[in-house]
């Protein structure tokens, strides 16, 4: 039996190639950990099909490149024959008729879906506490949140219930939970990965990306997902293949550290860990220069107008006509309003109303249009910064994992968890969070951002840093 707590996907593939294990054994090992779900990572398991698929791959002469390594999928990605609820009551029991392109590509490459992971309802939240079904606990401290919205996918990898997983990131929903759970989380350039089958929250921001225990695993997983999908008009032809990073040095690399995100509002322990990483950048031959992203201060405000506006339209299709449960009523209006009023959770309703308001006649110019203009300024800030630096660094989250329930009463305090990640999303740039140390025994994430389509550079630099940092992603006491 393989020891899942010590395994990366790369290690698993090697063991499979060497005949030291089988896909069936791996799937059983991980499924056992998934079934004992003390972290609340999973909303649904697909044990039967996973085992069948593992046996199928084990029997193949020509094995697909991922050789039957299992994966966990955020419940916001459509999976044919496997419930996809977005952690919402409005999709309770919903079983899609098709599979998201990115999942399909991974399955074709030989990945095996173990199940669907918990999340904030419709990916709206930063703690996974907005799930309509269950709480997910941080494997580093069960009283704390795993971050969100992809908290289940992050916790599953941190708790070694899967060697890697897929999350989605709209304003930080991969990077922030990766930071809080001490793993690697990567949001690709907007357009890199098809959104077909990703249940939309904010279409102009949503991206699918990997969680993993190593930068190389994240790069490897992403390499099978990128590229034009004829079903997603906003997906792009991928310029260069993603390569597995090997860099150990950062010679000649100029890293800009965002001064606005290293001051007030950032926990001292977080700042210290990021500062230590910057010292390592220089030790590895790179240069660290302070940079300013003046408009990023407006990131949260901009994001919390644009994302709700798009979500208000995206979530309008959940009307209880073609799928999902509904509240039966005699009039159409009652049926719509009662179905949606009862089956959406409070945060989703809050954002739908905020977004509807921002788009409404009389307010559009002052809110939505203005936010889109500020978005232009944020895009320009990054463009200016990248004239002088190769990568931009900051903390991923201003704090380490907070306690369950600590921020649920105050939406604005929850929104601030995304302060470092949101501007990057608005600019559509690739960004990775790697664990860079501990603060009070809890992981701290370092966020690195590159220009559009600089994924390879981003992976190379984070791999070099990861090696130098030497963080152990397995939470203490996990077995």
């Amino acid at each position: 039996m393989m020891d899942a707590t010590q395994l990366t996907a790369e290690g698993a593939i090697k063991a499979l190639a060497a005949g030291e294990t089988s896909s069936a054994e791996l799937v059983d090992t991980y499924l056992a950990r998934c079934e004992d779900d003390r972290w609340g990572s999973f909303l649904a398991l697909d044990a039967e099909r996973a085992r069948a698929r593992a046996n199928e791959i084990d029997a193949m002469d020509e094995k697909p490149p991922l050789r039957g390594v299992p994966i966990a999928i955020k419940d916001v990605l459509s999976t044919e024959g496997l419930t996809t609820t977005c952690a919402s009551k409005i999709l309770e029991g919903f079983t899609p008729v098709y599979t998201a392109t990115c999942v399909e590509r991974l399955e074709r490459a030989g990945a095996i879906v173990l199940g669907k992971t918990n999340m904030d309802e419709f990916a709206m939240g930063s703690s996974t506490e907005n799930s309509a079904y269950q709480v997910t606990r941080n494997p580093w401290d069960l009283e704390r949140v795993p971050g969100g919205s992809s908290g289940g996918s992050a916790a599953a990898v941190a708790a070694c219930q899967a060697p890697w997983s897929l999350g989605t990131d709209t304003g930080g929903s991969i990077r922030q939970p990766a930071a809080l759970c001490g793993i690697v989380g990567m949001k690709p350039t907007y357009g890199a990965v098809s959104r077909y089958g990703l249940v939309a929250f904010a279409s102009s921001l949503d991206q699918v990306g990997p969680f993993a225990r190593s930068v190389r695993d994240a790069a490897h997983l992403l390499s099978f997902m990128v590229g034009k999908d004829p079903k997603d008009s906003t997906s792009v032809d991928w310029p260069d293949p993603i390569v597995l990073p090997t860099a150990e040095r950062l010679d000649g690399m100029r890293v800009g550290i965002v001064t606005e995100l290293m001051g007030e509002g950032i926990d001292p322990g977080v700042r210290a860990a990021v500062e230590r990483s910057m010292a390592l950048v220089e030790e590895l031959g790179g240069t660290v220069v302070p940079i300013s992203l003046p408009s990023s201060a407006h990131g949260i405000a901009t994001y919390y107008l644009i994302a709700p506006a798009e979500c208000s339209a995206n979530l309008a299709r959940f009307d209880g006509v073609r799928y999902g449960p509904r509240h039966e009523a005699d009039t159409l209006l009652d049926q719509y309003e009662l179905t949606r009023g009862e089956l959406f959770g409070p945060e989703v309703k809050r954002r739908i109303i905020l977004g509807t308001f921002a788009l409404a006649s009389g307010y559009y110019d002052a809110y939505y249009r203005r936010a889109q203009q500020v978005r232009t300024l944020i895009v320009r800030d990054f463009a200016t910064a990248f004239e002088n630096v190769d990568l931009i660094a900051s903390p991923t989250s201003p704090t380490v994992a907070f306690k369950l329930g600590e921020r649920t009463a105050d939406p604005m305090s929850m929104y601030l968890a995304d302060i470092c990640t949101v501007p990057v999303s608005l600019a559509g740039l690739p960004s990775i969070s790697i664990p860079c140390g501990l603060s009070d025994g809890l992981p701290v994430g370092l966020q690195l951002v590159g220009p559009a389509f600089s994924e390879n550079r981003l992976f190379a630099a984070s791999h070099a840093l990861e090696q130098a940092i030497g963080f152990n992603p397995t939470p203490p006491g996990l077995s």
Binding site: S78, G197, T356, L359
Partner: protein
């Protein structure tokens, strides 16, 4: 209009179903009359996570419509989401175009007996159609509750919406405009414009104002009039209704109305208390459309002459307003006429096609371009008659039906059946003389000035020749031989 104190100001919005094979944003095949919900997919059912991808052919047809209407094709246009809840709109937003439509600012000239009229075209934009709702009978599952069923086959059908300036003044003009516009759109092949199947629908914006005023009154919108007659009657009824309101000292209320063609009554279509706020915003799932100007220029150059332009040309060829109107009803008929007119007199050709040929064919349910009467044969027939070699009566009653039956040239039929006209030669002269000799009394009366007896003698000669005599020549001979 009934009351000369007022004039109506009418603008029309036309929804045209584009002649694509598949839907606007997904690959489902378009169908009409198939079982419900058999042409759907995750995209047009708005399943979670599905995304739209624009149909290239819909863009091409939209541009063709714009070019035919003299519009500028926008260098870059975008799609927007138009948000409202309705069971026939699965995403609860319609992907449409808003402030950056595909085509902008053209005009359309339509013909009236008194002369050509120009209607400004504000824009042509693309959007997706809604699905179909059907009322269910009372046997629904929920006791007492009335229900509807949704069929998403039609949902997502590509539409072009053509919006005119308020340049139309009467209900008849509105109907004439729409009819001629339809001819143009069919001609360039962007739509079959079948109003019965809903592939062309018209809404009219109607207001009235005192004659001489340039201000616009409060307008009402008449929805979905699915025939030219209904459009005319609906607008007529609405103008009368508005005049009555104003005459009574009240004000017209802005609202949307439905014209019931059976009762000829207008009913408000939406409840007034429900305010509409469509919250348009740019569709983030789609990228801008920026047609290559060289390609647009190619399409423009390849644009066929429209039926209206053809009508103008036909009138210049000596045809009447009505001739030109009828002969441009379809491209096929136009082509048939032109091929005939290239080989024979145009006015004669028009007369034959509109008259004898159509009358003959309509009994058989055929169209002129379908049978054996090819343009060349018709032209030959006309020439035979023109030259006096075949009498009109024989041409009409014998030769034309014979071509249709036997698939032979007119000359061959004339020869076979010995229908060659007896010209003004000796043979005809002696036949006429015989007729005079046999009817001395009538000859005397004709000589005495009773001209109506000319017909009697022509009849006698025709009887004697089996209709082969040329009536004109017979006339002349009678007068000559009677010395009158």
């Amino acid at each position: 209009m009934s009351d000369a104190k007022y004039e109506a100001v009418i603008g029309i919005e036309i929804h045209v179903q584009l002649a694509t094979r598949t839907k606007m944003f997904c690959g489902c095949e378009l169908s009409f009359g198939d079982p419900p919900n058999t042409h759907t997919c995750p995209v047009c059912l708005a399943h979670p996570g599905a995304l739209p991808v624009t149909n290239a052919e819909a863009i091409r047809l939209g541009i063709m419509a714009g070019l035919a209407l003299g519009c500028d094709i926008a260098p870059e246009s975008t799609f927007h989401r138009k948000n409202y809840f309705y069971p026939d709109l699965p995403k609860a937003y319609q992907i449409s175009q808003f402030d950056e439509p595909l085509c902008i600012g053209g005009s359309f000239t339509y013909l009236q007996e008194e002369g050509p009229q120009v209607v400004g075209i504000t824009r042509v934009h693309l959007e997706e159609d809604a699905a179909k709702l059907q009322h269910l009978s009372a046997s629904g599952r929920r006791a007492g509750a009335e229900q509807s069923a949704v069929d998403f086959n039609r949902g997502g059908t590509p539409l072009a919406e053509i919006v005119t300036e308020p340049d139309i003044r009467t209900a008849q003009q509105a109907a004439d405009f729409l009819k001629q516009l339809r001819g143009t759109l069919r001609e360039i092949g962007i739509s079959d414009c079948n109003m019965e199947e809903g592939s062309m629908r018209a809404d009219a914006n109607v207001s009235i104002r005192p004659v001489g005023s340039t201000e616009l009154g409060t307008k009402t919108e008449l929805k979905n009039m699915n025939s030219f007659t209904f459009l005319r009657r609906g607008v007529e009824a609405e103008i009368a209704r508005q005049i009555a309101i104003v005459e009574a000292g009240d004000r017209v209320v802005q609202e949307t109305l439905h014209f019931d063609p059976v009762t000829e009554q207008l009913h408000p279509l939406r409840s007034k208390e429900e305010s509409h706020d469509y919250r348009y915003f740019p569709e983030p799932d789609l990228v801008p459309v920026a047609p290559d100007p060289a390609w647009v220029a190619e399409l423009r150059d390849a644009m066929p002459e429209g039926p209206v332009a053809r009508r103008v040309r036909y009138e210049a060829m000596g045809l009447t307003f009505e001739d030109a109107e009828v002969l441009t009803e379809s491209r096929e008929l136009s082509d048939y006429f032109e091929a005939t007119a290239a080989q024979a007199d145009a006015k004669q050709a028009a007369n034959w096609i509109r008259g004898d040929l159509r009358a003959l064919l309509s009994e058989r349910g055929e169209e002129p371009w379908q049978g054996h009467v090819t343009p060349t044969r018709l032209a030959q027939l006309i020439t035979l008659v023109d030259s006096g070699a075949l009498s009109r009566a024989n041409a009409r009653e014998v030769v034309l039906p014979a071509i249709l039956e036997s698939d032979k040239d007119p000359q061959a039929i004339v020869d076979e059946q010995g229908l060659g006209a007896i010209g003004d030669g000796d043979e005809l002269r002696s036949i006429v003389q015989t007729a005079i000799d046999d009817n001395p009394k009538q000859a005397e009366q004709l000589r005495g000035g009773q001209d109506k007896l000319l017909g009697f003698f022509v009849g006698q000669v025709m009887k004697a020749t089996g209709g082969r005599a040329d009536a004109k020549a017979v006339n002349e001979l009678i007068r000559e031989l009677l010395g009158s």
